[in-house]
Amino acid sequence: MGTNGKMIRRSDLGFWQKIYLPEIVKGLGLTIAQMFKPKITVQFPDERFKPEPSFRGRPVLVEENGVERCVACGLCARVCPALAIEVQASETPLEKERFPVKFEINMVRCIFCGFCEEVCPEEAIIMSNEYLLAFSSQQEALFGKDKLLKPASQMQDRLDWLRAHR
């Protein structure tokens, strides 16, 4: 019932449109019809919205064979516009030679921009689909390695999506 972008002038209107009432009745019919359409509301605490793989939730570290992929190059800490990441590197006998002894993301600072994911050469930090992030203190919002590590198997959706779109 829209005008399809055409400009409507008063002189174009017919008699019935000019007296306005039939058009109002049409409009009322439209609104009443809307009332019986399915609702889009997600009733939050009872129902949860399941994000698509393209969703940028909190960043997590990918864990493979019990260790993180991260090589502690520090690129993510460098690129993070919110200065939310802190990485401290150390050496490891594994093939990757370096690993982060400390990897901390301050979730109060993070703006979910996804730059860390984009810059990481090892695909070690990626955005998850978790969005329930409420804290009662600043301390609670400091996510160390214990909270950041996620097995690659759980993150397969996002990894596949990244492969397909980058």
Binding site: T31, Q34, M35, P38, K39
Partner: protein, 347 residues
């Protein structure tokens, strides 16, 4: 008048006002749910079953809020304005007949609070007083947005009051009386034995003009210019907070119910339920069914008010004035003259 008469009147007052206040609360909820449904949402459904307690929670919240009055406001008038608004809504409701009279305790009780013999005039007079609530609120707040809202409302209400009064002339001529209960009684017959003789069928033009004028009188969209949020912040109630704002809010919805009740009484046959006399019900049951019929009609008109609000955009100020003076007024006059002519020819 003895004690029992006084008691009966008191009971009627309590019942009618409780109905109006509870009804207003429920209308607020209805409006929120219906608007949500129109926008494919669900609306408030958490407090109580289906959100039924929501309006009471809102009132509890408003009562506990601080009452802020601007320093340069006229305190007395600022306090009085919401009372005028709600008072007018309540006192207009006093003349609406709920149902046909019932015989109880050996006396005939009319189901209306005040049996005013100039009902229609009383109605028109009170709606004019209603302007004061809004205009004074706007003026006493000492805020330019409020003042503009108040000015708009007085201009709007004065323009539409004319067509409202004139569109009632047709009804008046057909009924030949100003008493609202008589007007309803006249509508209980049938045209040609089939169609109920409701004034909406006899006076379609008068009905349309009266409904449009009622929308303007109750400041509902598309005529809510006095509180046009995008232009005037909150209009006349910008400077109101706490329960004084709540009173304006309540008054808006109480006014809506009152004017729905008036529309029902004057044009939709009031408490008349067509074809019911064929069922041969006992007098008391009949009266109750008629009261029920009246309530259903009022609820439907209220629903219509709500759906219109969520359908039509607001008029521009010049369009509002054009419609009022150049369309509604001539139509109402033509309707009055035409009705007079037809009645003269029939007689």
């Amino acid at each position: 008048m003895d004690h029992i008469d006084i008691l009966i009147t008191l009971a009627k007052i309590v019942a009618a006002f409780a109905f109006l206040i509870l009804g207003a609360a429920m209308t607020v909820l209805l409006e929120r749910r219906v608007s949500a449904f129109i926008q494919n949402r669900i609306g408030p459904n958490r407090v109580g079953p289906g959100g039924l307690i929501q309006p009471f929670a809102d009132v509890a919240k408003l009562v506990m809020k601080e009452d802020i009055v601007p320093r340069s406001a006229n305190r007395f008038i600022h306090d009085m304005a919401p009372m005028i608004s709600i008072g007018v809504a309540l006192s207009t409701f006093a003349i609406v007949p709920f149902g046909n009279g019932i015989d109880i305790f050996g006396r005939h009780v009319k189901l209306m609070i005040a049996d005013v013999n100039i009902g229609m005039l009383y109605l028109l007079a009170l709606t004019s007083v209603g302007v004061y609530g809004i205009t004074l609120a706007g003026w006493s707040s000492n805020n330019k947005y409020s003042l503009l809202g108040g000015l708009r409302s007085s201009a709007q209400l004065i323009s539409y009051e004319l067509s409202m009064g004139l569109s009632l002339i047709g009804v008046l001529m057909i009924a030949g009386t100003l008493r609202l209960d008589e007007i309803v009684l006249r509508q209980t017959q049938y045209i040609g034995g089939i169609l109920p003789k409701w004034n909406i069928f006899l006076q379609p033009l008068g009905f349309i003009t009266f409904v449009i004028a009622s929308f303007a009188e109750t400041n509902r969209l598309p005529f809510d210019l006095p509180e046009a949020e995008p232009e005037l912040v909150g209009g006349y109630h910008t400077e109101y907070s706490g329960m004084k704002f709540g009173l304006f809010f309540l008054a808006e919805y109480a006014n809506m119910i009152t004017s729905s009740a008036i529309i029902t009484t004057l044009f939709l046959g009031g408490w008349d339920v067509p074809y019911i006399e064929g069922l041969g019900l006992a007098p008391l049951t009949l009266a109750l069914v008629q009261v029920g019929g009246f309530l259903v009609k009022v609820a439907l008109v209220v629903l219509f008010y709500i759906i219109v609000r969520w359908t039509i955009p607001r008029f521009r100020y010049d369009q509002l004035m054009n419609l009022g003076w150049k369309v509604m007024l001539p139509l109402a006059i033509a309707n009055a003259l035409g009705t007079g002519l037809v009645l003269l020819l029939i007689a």
